[in-house]
Symmetry: C2
Subunit: 463 residues, 2 copies
């Protein structure tokens, strides 16, 4: 399953952290132990994010295995490895064996084969083989995020038998919402909500009350599709089946949430030209520095080429610069504002397309809307710039030229910024990559060209 | 509750839409009706997003009230109003009365008092007063996103009584995960999962098996805090209480998901200087054009002031521009690349802070990391730019100046881009607003200053 990141909203007060630290200073281990084990694992995880590795290690040792496993679940892979590597092997195995299978698989996925075997060989055969299977699925597929912990029963079982089966498992840490009905060979026949179960007569066979038209996904379906369908249809969990419709696991609503958060992060990164192909989205901030460089350099390089295009435009008009150097000083102003309003348009289109609030059919409508915004703001800003320039340089012609360049530039920027995402999507290019670098450069070039053309046609009034 | 936006991943094939349209052409209403009513409401909603208002209207009329209500739930407010305004009053009331209470309240919230009364007066007194109460809570609070449909029982009820109570309600469209235990005055005493219920002896009193330490939120708590806690602790629903600990409603996991998506959108908008204070985040693309202008102009205005700062820097060095106009043509290149790599740094810091992957304590570490990336990329790009400029203008000094300006500029950009978000957050300013416009301008000014300084100190080699 995807990494769990604690949310931004800080819910653990600093005084909690202070209190824990005081216990350490006073060497009051008893108090520390009870405090820690009384905290919610998600809160402990939040504390762990804000303290030193040494503190983490000493606190972690004091947690009982159950709690330690719960806390690990909430931490990102780097911290999981950091903490377990400082724990002695048997204890570590005891903790890991208490983690949900999907998280165990993710954790082991980052280790060496030898380490993996050390862990798995200590687990019951049935579990370790399940984990090994989970580890075979690509990270970003249904198989990669599913868990193998779910309830399945035969279609001939009665409601009463099913209920007592669930009762018998009530100690297990499987949190379940649906019961899946399967045949002897584990083919998925139907699904049953806990609610249907208790609302039905005890002697009824589950085969007669189950829903047979089950929405299911394939082990190799893309995680984004899985998350989107789960959220779209409002399911709590989705069954994952193989080519032969045998149920292999389930994906739960919280997995879906973390997937869509992960996808959003990648989208946000892409929009400023940070690629998550060479490096995992959560490693850009912590992984090898050269990987971060490789994630960021390519788009910058493309921008560089584009920027030289802008340089050539300016160079083409060098004779004008020679005769009237003052016009150079307004370049940052024009391309700066053009870039900003253009980026706004891109941001709105890209996000709208990704949330589905904008559909391709409404492209024209949206682009026209953006242009109107561009014209309104462009005229206001153009006027402002004209007046300031006129007053400052005491040259009305210059003011008019710079001002109208500003208006033209901002309007064109909204046009480019709004239209390009649709064009890219039309050609199946992720529009997210359109924003930031790419568009900014396009706008620079167009903006400069417009400016210099305006200057050259009105040169006689300026000099 | 927050608006439900269909997800980007298109799950309805175009041929489905084509088939529906064909039914219309062939005036085969029977086929159209059955096709529509056999589709999942979320899919119908997706179709509605991609067809003309006329088509929407004609399709909508063919849905039975239940289905129509389900479809409305999935649509954004604009479409809800559009569709119901074309439906005759009684039918509309019948449909609205089938919507979940929280969505009904949101829908009515956008109507005039008169229209609201038209709807509510036709509903049972108990329901209409619940709706009126829901409508009193601010949109972005727990009260604003909660629903009043949940199960509560007295602590003296036995497991058996509770189960039969749930059975008796099994026709209602309340989808519930927990049962809340309250006293006569509706004070929240504890909570019970459906699973605990079926795992306990039938004659046990719920008061003895309930969890008394309940995580609850207040009706006026901020929706982001509510969503974050629900997701952080992995609850399916959270009870919402008033000042007297009386339960008023519950917030469910899907509400939480839509809230955090809404907050992400606002964050993304803010990062390109689009404010969602004057206009609702989902209206920027569809609401009044002047509101969109007001949402976007303020930050652009701030950028304009900043840009004039950059202009003044350039103006300060006008004598240099007079003697060596060629240096002007490299301005777009330098501020362009500086802006891009700086934006990358901002994006990483802002997103990291918002997902919690970066904590304030690690500020120094992160900034140093960004600077290292800036130096590595800056040196490579500086060298490249030096060679190109040298070869192109056949002037090695110029190449060296522009190249080293590029290196310095990119390094400074990562420093500014990484540090400013932390500084803003330190002073409790939302770091999201730091990115885009603000930083870009700061980088422009610093970059220009560095460039012109380098030029002026090495002028004797250049001319």
């Amino acid at each position: 399953m995807p990494d769990r990141l604690p949310r931004a909203t800080k819910m653990v007060e600093d005084q909690t952290i202070e209190r824990l630290k005081r216990h350490v200073e006073l060497e009051n281990e008893a108090a520390l132990v009870s405090d820690l084990n009384n905290m919610h694992s998600a809160d402990i995880a939040e504390v762990f994010e804000c303290i030193t590795p040494e503190e983490r290690e000493s606190y972690f040792k004091l947690l009982d295995p159950e709690k330690a496993a719960d806390v690990l679940e909430e931490l990102n892979p780097q911290l999981q490895v950091e903490l377990l590597s400082t724990t002695d092997e048997d204890e570590a195995t005891r903790i890991v064996s208490k983690m949900p299978h999907d998280l165990m698989a993710d954790f082991l996925g980052d280790l060496t084969d030898e380490e993996i075997n050390n862990y798995l060989n200590k687990l019951p055969q049935r579990v370790s083989s399940q984990i090994r299977e989970l580890m075979t699925y690509p990270e970003d597929t249904a198989g990669g995020i599913m868990t193998t912990e779910y309830f399945s029963v035969g279609e001939d079982m009665t409601v009463e038998q099913t209920i007592s089966y669930v009762r018998s498992k009530s100690d297990s840490n499987i949190d379940f919402y649906y019961i899946y009905v399967v045949d002897k060979l584990n083919h998925l026949l139907g699904v049953l909500s806990l609610r249907t179960l208790i609302s039905s007569p005890l002697d009824m066979k589950v085969g007669n009350i189950m829903t047979t038209d089950v929405f299911k996904v394939h082990t190799l379906d893309d995680q984004e599709y899985v998350a989107d369908s789960l959220i779209k249809y409002g399911f709590l969990a989705l069954p994952v089946v193989d080519n032969f419709n045998r149920i292999k696991g389930i994906v739960t609503w919280d997995d879906a949430h973390y997937v869509s958060e992960e996808e959003t992060t990648e989208e946000i990164y892409a929009s400023s030209g940070i690629s998550t192909d060479v490096i995992d989205e959560d490693e850009i901030l912590s992984g090898k520095i050269m990987l971060s460089v490789r994630a960021r350099a390519p788009w910058l390089l493309i921008t560089l080429v584009g920027a030289f295009g802008a340089v050539h435009v300016a160079d083409y008009f060098e004779n004008i610069l020679d005769r009237l150097p003052v016009i150079a000083i307004f370049i940052p102003l024009l391309i700066g504002l053009g870039g900003n309003i253009g980026t706004q348009s891109v941001t709105l289109m890209v996000r709208g397309l990704s949330t589905g609030q904008i559909v391709m059919n409404s492209a024209i409508k949206q682009v026209l809307r953006e242009i109107r915004v561009g014209i309104i703001i462009g005229l206001a800003f153009g006027l402002l710039v004209m007046l300031v320039t006129w007053g400052w340089k005491d040259n009305i012609s210059l003011g008019i030229v710079v001002g109208s360049a500003m208006t033209a530039n901002m309007t064109l920027a909204t046009l480019l910024g709004a239209a390009l995402p649709f064009i890219l999507k039309r050609f199946n290019v992720d529009p997210a990559v359109a924003s930031g670098p790419f568009i900014a450069t396009a706008i620079d070039i167009v903006g400069l060209a417009v400016y210099f053309l305006l200057v050259s046609v009105s040169l006689k009034f300026l000099v």
